[in-house]
């Protein structure tokens, strides 16, 4: 949610021209949420379904697990839901397909227009933070799609979380359209309409329920990407080292134990801590993660997999604690309530501690490879 004066070039393909990759690969093939075309003036716009197909559901599941998450886009522009006319409401959203899907499902049974902005395939809140879901893009889209000719009223409904990027009073000044911020969740749209375009405090407040947290965990699990294979492989290889040379047997025995400990530490931080978030003491995520990491280490010590001697056991407490603490701290990025100032304050002390713990732990563990205790 930072203001970037000069937008850095994006290398991961999320800065495309807005056309969906599927469209590029299969010209003429249209996504299955488009169920027809709807006349608007002399032209026509795609008419979209308000239900999720099996493909929609499956793709939603896949992007939660980081599969194709950076290329999950719809084309920016105007879409129709139901049988909208020049009096119908206009809802604005991002061109991340999951954002678009939630909106069209929330509009089930209504006649409305959807204006999709080009947010480079990023969701509403994050795009608003980056400024891609911003005043400039909204004003540009209102103009190039001739919204003033499409509807006679001068009101557009934006998701509330886009307010980080959009200045309502400036949009009004530049286009004549007044921005009404709708509810945070598309599922509340009907209640919002029923109460005369008013969102109560509950509809306006961001939550962080267990279900919300569960959805965000998979992406964090893949944070380390190929290191998830590389580092365990390294531990496996090093496990064979001993004062007498190299032993395949030890690589298998100590190695598999080490890999278990490593993953336990990693998952303590990026899965267990997020799940238990509100019930773990401490406000700092790094401390929450440290506590959980150590509890898991304690459990593994009881199970006998942590190590064969005090130095090895101690080393694993340091590595697992440091790793879990770091991964838990990373979850601040997924959370809906941590501030920049707060995270900076937390990192100032946490990062040096995490690095020291992990380094000492690694040194201790390597030491046990060469010394028989």
């Amino acid at each position: 949610m930072v203001k970037i004066s000069k937008k850095p070039a994006c290398d991961c393909g999320c800065n495309g021209d807005g056309a969906s990759p599927s469209e590029k690969k299969h010209p003429g093939l249209q996504p299955d949420f488009i169920i027809g075309s709807y006349p608007s003036g002399e032209k026509s716009v795609p008419l979209v379904s308000t239900t999720w197909s099996r493909t929609d559901r499956l793709s939603a599941l896949k992007v939660r697990w980081s599969i194709g998450r950076m290329h999950y886009k719809v084309d920016p522009g105007i879409y129709a839901v139901g049988k909208p006319g020049d009096q119908s409401l206009v809802f604005v959203t991002a061109n991340y397909k999951l954002s678009f899907d939630h909106l069209r499902r929330g509009l089930d049974g209504l006649d409305a227009w959807i204006l999709v902005l080009d947010t480079k395939g990023i969701n509403v809140w994050c795009a608003a933070g980056k400024g891609t879901f911003g005043t400039k893009e909204l004003v540009r889209r209102i103009r190039i799609h001739h919204l003033a000719d499409l509807v006679t009223h001068r009101r557009i409904i934006l998701p509330q979380l886009s307010a980080t990027g959009v200045a309502a009073h400036e949009v009004k000044k530049m286009t004549g359209f007044s921005v009404t911020y709708g509810p945070v969740r598309a599922v509340d749209i009907k209640a919002f309409l029923d109460s005369g375009l008013k969102a109560g405090e509950r509809m306006r407040t961001v939550t962080f329920s267990l279900a919300d947290r569960l959805k965000l965990i998979p992406v964090d699990i893949f944070y380390a990407k190929y290191y998830l294979l590389l580092i365990p492989a390294l531990f496996f290889l090093l496990s064979g080292l001993n004062p007498h040379g190299y032993s395949i047997e030890m690589a298998v025995e100590t190695g598999s134990r080490s890999i278990l400990n490593l993953f336990a530490g990693y998952l303590s931080g990026c899965a267990l801590t997020p799940i238990l978030l509100p019930w773990i003491p401490f406000r700092r995520f790094s401390l929450k993660g440290l506590l959980v990491g150590w509890l898991v280490a304690l459990f593994l010590m009881g199970a006998g997999t942590l190590g064969n001697n005090a130095v090895e056991i101690g080393s694993w407490f340091l590595i697992m604690g440091g790793l879990s603490s770091f991964m838990a701290m990373n979850f601040t990025g997924s959370s809906t309530f941590t501030s920049l100032s707060g995270v900076q304050k937390e990192m100032k002390t946490a990062i040096p501690v995490q690095i020291t713990m992990t380094a000492l732990g690694l040194a201790g563990w390597i030491f046990t490879r060469f010394i028989i205790l």
Partner: protein, 108 residues
Amino acid sequence: MDIHQIYYPMKEFIYLPDVVTLELDREKCNGCRMCLTVCPHAVFEIKDKKAVIRHKDQCMECGACAKNCPQEAITVRSGVGCAAGILNGILRGTEPTCDCSKDSGSCC
């Protein structure tokens, strides 16, 4: 009791106290309620026809209020409350950003 207080125990989700940079100049406020509308954590309320900061520690510095205040009465150092984003910024010598890079390959 409101059912949503049970399902969404937001009160438990308060981050570090006394760090938030949010400031409101009540002199400039015209009581338009826009900050109440856009705040995702119900930080503001209206008292004597003007906004006041009710729960400062609940603020996540998203900047929506400052951006939408027509009176420019609100200031906040807004940015990503995200450790990976801050690290990203430190490593690349920029402001904290969750913007994509070759290294992370992620766009959140």
